[in-house]
Symmetry: C2
Subunit: 298 residues, 2 copies
Amino acid sequence: MAQVAWIGLGVMGYPMAGHVLKNGFHNLTVYNRTQEKAQRWVFEFDAGALALNPAEAASRADFIFSCVGNDEDVRSVTTGPQGAFHTMRPGAIFIDTTTTSATLARELSKAAAEKGLHFIDAPVSGGQAGAQNGTLTVMCGGEETSFQKAKPIIKTFAREVVRIGPSGDGQLTKMVNQICVAGLIQALAEGLHFAKRAELDVEAVMKTISKGAAQSWQMENRWWSMMDNEFDFGFAVDLMRKDMAICLEESRRNGANLPVTALVDRFYGEVQSMGGNRWDTSSLIARLNALKSDEVLE
Amino acid sequence: MAQVAWIGLGVMGYPMAGHVLKNGFHNLTVYNRTQEKAQRWVFEFDAGALALNPAEAASRADFIFSCVGNDEDVRSVTTGPQGAFHTMRPGAIFIDTTTTSATLARELSKAAAEKGLHFIDAPVSGGQAGAQNGTLTVMCGGEETSFQKAKPIIKTFAREVVRIGPSGDGQLTKMVNQICVAGLIQALAEGLHFAKRAELDVEAVMKTISKGAAQSWQMENRWWSMMDNEFDFGFAVDLMRKDMAICLEESRRNGANLPVTALVDRFYGEVQSMGGNRWDTSSLIARLNALKSDEVLE
């Protein structure tokens, strides 16, 4: 049975690591920066070993997963002073489920290869609910052979696991996802905000137009919570802004033009100013509703 | 059997009137500004009578449909010198399927009521294909009783026929639809454009992310034609700009904030400058692809 290590037990990593354990990978070692969380995890799942740092967690593992905050955190748990790359056994595979820059993914893939190790970028979509239910979508970049070896373990917390291409392509795919989502939510928010100001029967409107060209997952799953100003769930604006920053930085590198993405990123900044740091991304409508008519600046 | 008149046999009206005839409403009189088209229609469907003007078409009808270009055209065929309102019989119902301002719909509803007539605003979505296949969505505003009487005839060319509320609400619903569609297409265009510049396997990317929060009808039905720069079909940019103008004018009236809608309207203007007047609305990606990296102006 494969030995697995899991680094990072936040809102996403905590349940994801749980799915790995519950689906047959019992030789699991966990590490978390705040150690109490790792202790709680071992207690809750009544299994697994605790490690004091990423290097210790990785030393016994064939597969090492990370789910941390950002580029800097991933660098710290891999090539940092107590990082996993220093102790990983030859041929071991590191799978990073954090959303990071593609540049970092490529850099770590290269660093891994130089040590006879393997690295896969594997950001996820599906949010907290997807992590809890084990129904995430995982977008992977890296070598095909390493991907095939890691896939059965990734599958324990995912409905969809796809290798898009070489290192970095998982992260780039996640960026495409976030670009599509950001503008889509703003468009839906403008539609609902307009419907409200026009005093329409919004339920009848949504039922009718969601059959055609305006249909989207966001429309079907978020229109009612958006109308109810209910944002205490889902994917936080703070995290979305982190992702938007990665998208916009990458677009400066590859020359893509993202005018609406850039605008919506600013709008999310305004939602943060309204105190919406932890609100779901659908809270863009709160910003529209808060503006008075005479502040319309189009 | 109800007597029906149809005014306007353009790309939408031509097949729509055909569905009315073929589905049992044989007492049909048609009128079109360019008379040759009306003659062609009568010849093709081997039935129906020709009228020389809207007033003549309406004089014998219980239900009068119009499908023309814009507010001015609708005014012309209703209250204009040879308009239908002058000859309609008491209790007759006028159903306008043109996309117009809500203001016009309310104005004509009032003018109709003063003459003992009825008016329903009934703009459609589903495009040319929907008109040809009789699968349009029809969003209605007006009195419930008139709507119920007209519904069986509308149903001959529609999959969905819904009364949203009083006069004007059909038009306002169409505006909500167009607001949601415009920003959504731009978001998808930015995602695909980014994927292309990032040299991703776009088919793999779309297959993967269309399972989650980024999913939309546009993504599922348009991503491949957008990647192939294929825009010679669908709903023309010229018509979308007409609709956008109606949305933005109404938003100035009701105080709704539509920053992305306003921006995308400008982008459609740029597509027109590229010669894309007749291109499908998904051609927003052509504008992004045409920009050089150093023209990125976010």
